[in-house]
Chain length 332, copies 4
């Protein structure tokens, strides 16, 4: 249950009430909010006197649910806006990894030339093998900071574990919680405290329920700036790397109030299918697309098979505005 | 390996050769074709003299593969065409089941009014429970035959097992091999013999490889008129009925030469998500859409939750042509 | 709901009642039984007068459920018994396919020598590729009939579609409904009519609910002799062919009244893991094991990698009685 | 490739070589070891002079593979030993969570009374919902430390993210890397540095390849004391909480050199199936069992449905030695 308390309540009273209800306290738009377990379905009359409004949610998807708040939340990244009722779809593009200064600068220039406004690139790569390229780490973050300074591109990059979460929060515009880190409370708690926009990727073995509950950790910790990103789930089908769950996207659009981004690159795992899937996501009216592109995918140090080369990216990019328009949206 | 034999070879020689290579014989466009296991990678010089051309395929996806034939096959249903290089997307719509004469006539009239040209409706329902509605059977087929006669609508209906496959072949325009019957050799063999257009639905537990191999049974039996239909696979995610595998659709477009239809209704299981998914499939440039619609979904005898009511269908239907146009196609 | 009617009711009255309740009629141990949809939770007082006893089941698992009948059903195959309270585990072994008369005779002799009493071997192979060995068909059935005559071995063989189900029913002791045919109503209905023991393999994409509902088709058609066989489900893990679902076996033991057989050969797909998994199933107290063994697995025409050679089979076979004893059972 | 260098090589030379081969350096039993990517298949003759022995591994499962080392590794926890050629199966039992001092003392006393030597209990619970009990944290660790002091029980407890990994390493005998933290490099790296025994639970969405690669991070970081724990994977089947992958256990036994523990409690999710599955794992000859038991499961603050009560645990526990004996092992 999400409870909006009446204004002007004594602080001690609120604390006592939170303890009594085993509730999490936060503030939304100036209102004091208590969030209890969803198993609480009714309010005691004694408590009701302190309550302005309350919302019963069917599961522990509460702050993120349309049962609590039916309009879509708006996440602000400087002068960019994601979600809300803006009917915009943000293109986020860039290489899998920061590999070197020339590589990342080449990509940045290319994207700026096209009018893309947010760049992705990984510094801390959550590789499954200790014998693969692990990313440039802090040095990569610094290269991205230079790109931001020089180009005005907004930067999103991934945090892979709690040991470097503070550095990523400090040095990027949007923190990406990777699919393998979706359950990481060390990361989620740090993000909750920071108020920095957070894009949470769905774990490839995670249910939609768990996915939104990860967002719920950040929201209930006081950070409203949460974006969900579907990037493919693991199924029995192995001809493609993962299975992009667009049924899941339809579910999230219906049942949650969070902006939704789709990453077809990781789902497909092969460049040939990425444009079609990106167009599919656009036709569904999602709030953003996350596409991997690299100056020379064949030589990429990670995810070589799935990154678009610049020609392929341009072809895709130029095909999207008409689809956006067909569904009443605009690509930014 | 697919082998095109030289013209004018003696029949006995061809038979002997087929036996020697353990090959299946068929005819494509007047050419004698032998299909061996894909493990045959080279041709004996003695045999080469009889051969016009041959195609090595990496797996037992052979006749359906782009390695054998890179252009998309065209399936003809009377005056309708599916696939080929027509850049058309066929709308196929109708209720889950034929329930009664008034019900099916109401739907048919509605569809004709909109300009839809092919109707779906099930007579033999492959229900998982013996205690649910099992369909009207032959009586349903007759009702559909009347609809065809009265309206000119093309009819597609499902065969659930080999005991009634001949009746379905005789009385419909396109035979639908249902997801639960995808491996049924009794059905596939009957379809192969008949030359009637066949739409094969992917089994929800079937890999893409197995899916196309089911088509390969029909193709190698001499029936070229095969359409593939993706309708969702079973995954760990249960908030939606199945998971529509659009990565799989991207794979099929790249690696096979068969027309592809997408059925978002069964994948999603809930009407609210069907329009978005239908638009996504349209943006991918598929050859057809299969959508369930019912005059009054709440009272439907099967699949009540996923059928669009007429208002919802019209809203979806009218949104599709612009997306088709955005990707260089036309909805028919 | 399962309803036991009072004895001596007028036939017309029973028919009328079945029609009114949309119930399936059958006879169990001389009692007239009506089975309605499980959504019927209460009985009309007017009807109650005709009813001896009734059982509310939570889902359309009804006749197979422990809610209806808590003791395990006993299936009789000549002088062999499976299930009931016998605390026996039946070994069923043999090659994947009947390949030739010498091959099948060699296996039969080997098994008889060990004291194994039921042999498996496929004649109609539900291959996924049209370019693979499809089985010997009717000729294979005849070879199996000779084996039975010569050795007294009971025979179980698979039916793959409805076109040959009558032949299989006639010529074997137990009809195996294969994993790919689990939803085939043509087969299930023929088995229901025949009263022949039926072993239903779980579809690799089928839920436990659907699996037991397939049995429910046979049971509600009047054939009580149904055995369930777990043989692995399809998951994201591809290092093994399938994933043997022993959690599912625990579920079936708790919630159904049907004998349970486990097939580790198809689940694992590699001979090296079969003995360990067979021992695991034995330790769970299942009613039977289905193990593939072949005189020379490397040359087998199907499933070459998973069949035990005779040495491996003997090693496994001799290790099982002690485990059976440790859990209070006996291997037969 | 795993390379054993000749003894007595100059330190600088080894460093240069490691850099040249992009190899990870470690020491095993006094030997200097370099581990390169598995894509390295041959050694340069110039380098060969420095090499004592080298092992080509087919994938990035290297140090853990039987291709590198065919005998099973032995992990030592004080006077307890897991793995090696001891033919012992260690029982590890305890509640899901430390809930209070009386609760954990009651369990400890119960286990000591039975002769169980290692206790599990969670302090940092990786709950999917922020509105559920999150564990006692450091206070729980202290309660466990008292139990160890008072009873001599070895303690295993879970680390959920990198923020508290050092505390867990310091205060327990075995560090459990939970299923949701399997990819957490912050945790894996800390475990690698510590030399403390580590039990890694397979992520429920993780392939066997990735599972063993997580172990590879710890092994290649210089900590040989790694135990693998199968605890169920996520599949389409939801009648049980997860699907225990015993095919996977058979694979791990065949292809890796690490001790293997099976946790049937989390896989099943329901107490009724745990004893059967524990017996199954014992019959497979695994190195340990991890079973949840609680004085009063119904009141448990987490995992209430799957914990055995003491009576159920005793019944299971007493049934295991005979099965162990039947497969040539001993339960400790």
């Amino acid at each position: 249950m999400v409870i909006h308390l009446k204004k002007g309540l004594d602080e001690n009273r609120v604390s006592a009430l939170a303890a009594e209800l085993k509730a999490i306290r936060l503030r939304e738009n100036g209102t004091q909010v208590l969030v209890t377990s969803s198993s609480l379905l009714q309010i005691d009359p004694a408590i009701e006197l302190l309550v302005d409004e309350y919302f019963v949610c069917r599961t522990d998807i509460q702050l993120a649910s349309t049962e609590y708040r039916s309009s879509k939340r708006l996440v602000t990244v400087g002068d960019l806006h994601i979600g809300g009722d803006l009917k915009q779809t943000l293109m986020i593009a860039g290489p899998c990894s920061v590999e070197s200064e020339p590589q990342i600068n080449t990509v940045a220039e290319f994207l700026v030339g096209l009018g893309v406004r947010m760049m992705r690139a990984g510094c801390f790569k959550p590789r499954t093998s200790p014998y693969s390229f692990q990313g440039l780490g802090l040095k990569g973050l610094e290269l991205l900071a230079h790109v931001r300074e020089n180009t005005g591109l907004k930067i999103i990059t991934e945090v892979k574990d709690a040991t470097h979460v503070d550095a990523v929060i400090e040095m990027t515009d949007v923190v990406q919680v990777g699919a393998k880190a979706m359950y990481d409370h060390g990361i989620l708690n740090a993000c909750a405290r920071s108020r920095k926009p957070v894009l949470i990727k769905r774990g490839f073995g995670s249910t939609l329920q768990e996915f939104v509950q990860a967002a719920e950790f950040v929201l209930s910790g006081g950070n409203e700036n949460v974006i969900l990103c579907e990037r493919g789930i693991r199924t029995f089908e192995h001809k493609t790397r993962f299975t992009l769950d667009l049924c899941g996207v339809a579910y999230l659009k219906e049942h949650t109030n969070l902006p939704i981004v789709v990453d077809p690159s990781h789902a497909m795992g092969f460049a040939y299918g990425v444009p079609d899937l990106a167009r599919a996501a656009m036709a569904m009216g999602v709030d953003g697309l996350l596409i991997e592109t690299h100056p020379n995918p064949k030589t990429a140090l990670s995810d070589a098979s799935q990154q678009l080369d610049f020609g392929e990216f341009v072809a895709l990019y130029s095909s999207l505005p008409m689809i956006a328009k067909a569904v009443g949206r605009r690509m930014i």
